[in-house]
Symmetry: C2
Subunit: 347 residues, 2 copies
DNA sequence: TTGAAAGCGCTAACAA
DNA sequence: TTGTTAGCGCTTTCAA
């Protein structure tokens, strides 16, 4: 009784254009045409197709379509989704803006520190229209692979040595210089740096700019601790920097996420009053920075603008045969809040 | 000179199994077999294929494969990616655990408040192996559609009236009762509630439980303001609740995100000391709740466990023909921190 | 173990 | 405007 009969049909057979055609009494290509914007179908035929499709609950299989159109409308996105709130904003904006262009997101998250090459290897098995790498380091080996496969790629908040890959980054140099100028105007005396992932281009740029600019102003005794761009890492780093006899009166953190943690360590563990006893400055202007609990002074990386630029770059690559890689630097601005001491007579 | 010759070839033609076969001097099906785990290929043939594939940089097109295997290894995920940090954790864990099962994520974000029916309509055009809806309300109309299309669906942190869709939710009732018991033990006198999205099942459950349990204990004068599960909404709601002559000494917020905001409003705008002048309690235990700046008392919705359950449920549905919908409630626990007044002699 | 052939669901010539 | 046909890149019978 419960024994299966001749039609197991475990593989779900979805409704196809062929089914609709049969029911409507037209050809399968007529059905295809009806779902192709701008194709010519007689009103009468169209009506029959609409009814049949409606009745069967037919929806064109977009993936099958892509096989022949060579356009999947799929954009791969790789980003670290740890607790750093900045990437949440980036992803949200990517999702929103890509959808307005008719693209869908195939999402890949990479564990921070993991080798992203394996992941990207895997990604190349999908017929993507483009790839956006957020805060991911791309080996020049794989950069070449993407190039060879004609896969448009844009890196966000990172650069690769291979100059063939376009990138959108914040203005690390201008940002750091602005921050240092601000700190110097505030008569800070002892500086420290909480570094991000040492491997990353962003950390390299920010660290290099911070130390060399300070050195040029006569400050050579600048402390450093590595926070690896994580909250936990920053906790240890901040403790280390503050646990000395004469702690710094200014800490620049390579991103906001770490700065927020440093702020808490200074405030709750070392009983220092940010903006008075110590100045803490971040980089990003993530959405927590403006919260009353933090009021973090920071240099902004305008995520909306950067996402917009990245998508424009990607679209250009998709459309143009002979696109030349561009490296866009999006200027931010110093957002002054209460985590830092103001220069006297500051307006 | 720069004029294009006979081969425009603008459509990028990727390397196919056929190309590899030709170069290796074998049939295309041999190539396919080599990339099929467990298929029988002679070592000699295999070697030739490996070399040819390597030379051409061949990778099987996973999407083309899915057309015939009827398995895309794609899971659709819909979730709101506003600034609520809880969903970032959920997405991260979904991504991680799904990848261990060989699944990839097709990501769809829905604007809070937007009609998700249109979005899901769109989603049904993709040959997904499953769909996970996070904090999204699903109309019973579309629930039926999914059922008809044999698309396995699991809802997280929401339920739908249609009992055909499986769900994983936190223990709203137990959570609220635990919270109320704790507040009563702390001798709180005046209660208020900041509501989430009025349409959502979670808000309904929490609100209903909060008000009816308090009423059963003789507290009928309980204030309410709607925060729509957003930070901004909560700000207005908190201000409203606190701007009266005798403000509440206990506010329960329908999620942590709003509770964090309420905490800030109480502290920075109304100069109230949380845990002393006022108790604020949330729901979720998101990653900010434990930060020193907040120390929010809350009832946890263990995201890791919930994600695990949701994926299990989805996998069961994918594998079993005759799966019956399940509704899993994951118990959390009261996490007592400093945003709430402790009962006397509390241990 | 291998290749030929059919076909997944669809689009896009082409001819009628 | 329509149907016929070929074929996207792949897997999977089926015979050899």
């Amino acid at each position: 009784m419960s024994k299966k009969t001749e039609t197991p049909r475990s593989a779900k057979r979805s409704v196809t254009a062929h089914d609709v055609a049969k029911l409507a009494g037209v050809s399968q290509s007529a059905v295809s045409r009806h779902f192709t914007p701008g194709a010519s179908v007689a009103p009468k035929t169209r009506q029959k197709i609409i009814e049949a499709a409606e009745q069967l609950g037919y929806r064109p299989n977009l993936i099958a379509r892509s096989l022949i159109t060579k356009k999947s409308n799929l954009i791969g996105i790789v980003l670290p989704l740890n607790t750093n709130p900045y990437y949440q904003s980036i992803l949200e904006e990517l999702s929103y803006e890509l959808s307005t262009h008719g693209y869908r997101i195939l999402l890949f998250t990479n564990q921070t520190g993991h080798d992203s090459d394996l992941l990207i290897e895997e990604i190349l098995h999908y017929p993507l229209d483009g790839l956006i790498l957020v805060a991911v380091n791309l080996s020049s080996h794989l950069a070449e692979e993407c190039k060879q496969n004609d896969l448009p790629v844009v890196m966000m908040t990172r650069k690769t040595e291979s100059k063939t890959i376009s990138s959108v980054t914040g203005d690390n140099i201008h940002g750091v210089h602005t921050i240092v100028d601000f700190l110097l105007a505030g008569k800070h005396q002892k500086f420290a740096y909480i570094a991000g992932e040492p491997q990353s281009s962003t950390n390299y740029d920010r660290e290099e700019a911070f130390f060399s600019y300070l050195a040029s102003q006569g400050f050579n005794d600048v402390q450093k601790a590595i926070g690896y761009y994580t909250y936990e890492g920053a906790r240890l780093a901040a403790r280390k920097l503050l646990s000395v006899s004469t702690p710094p009166d200014a800490i620049f953190c390579a991103n906001d996420h770490m700065a927020l943690c440093a702020l808490e360590v200074a405030q709750y563990e070392f009983k220092l009053q940010p903006g008075k006893d110590i100045s803490i400055i971040g980089f990003d202007d993530n959405y927590l920075a403006s919260w009353d609990s933090f009021q973090l002074t920071t240099y902004s990386q305008p995520s909306k603008q950067m996402v917009h630029q990245a998508i424009q770059l990607l679209l250009e690559q998709i459309e143009q045969e002979d696109f030349l890689p561009k490296h866009i630097i999006v200027k931010g601005e110093l957002i002054i809040r209460y985590s830092s001491r103001l220069p006297l007579n500051y307006q």
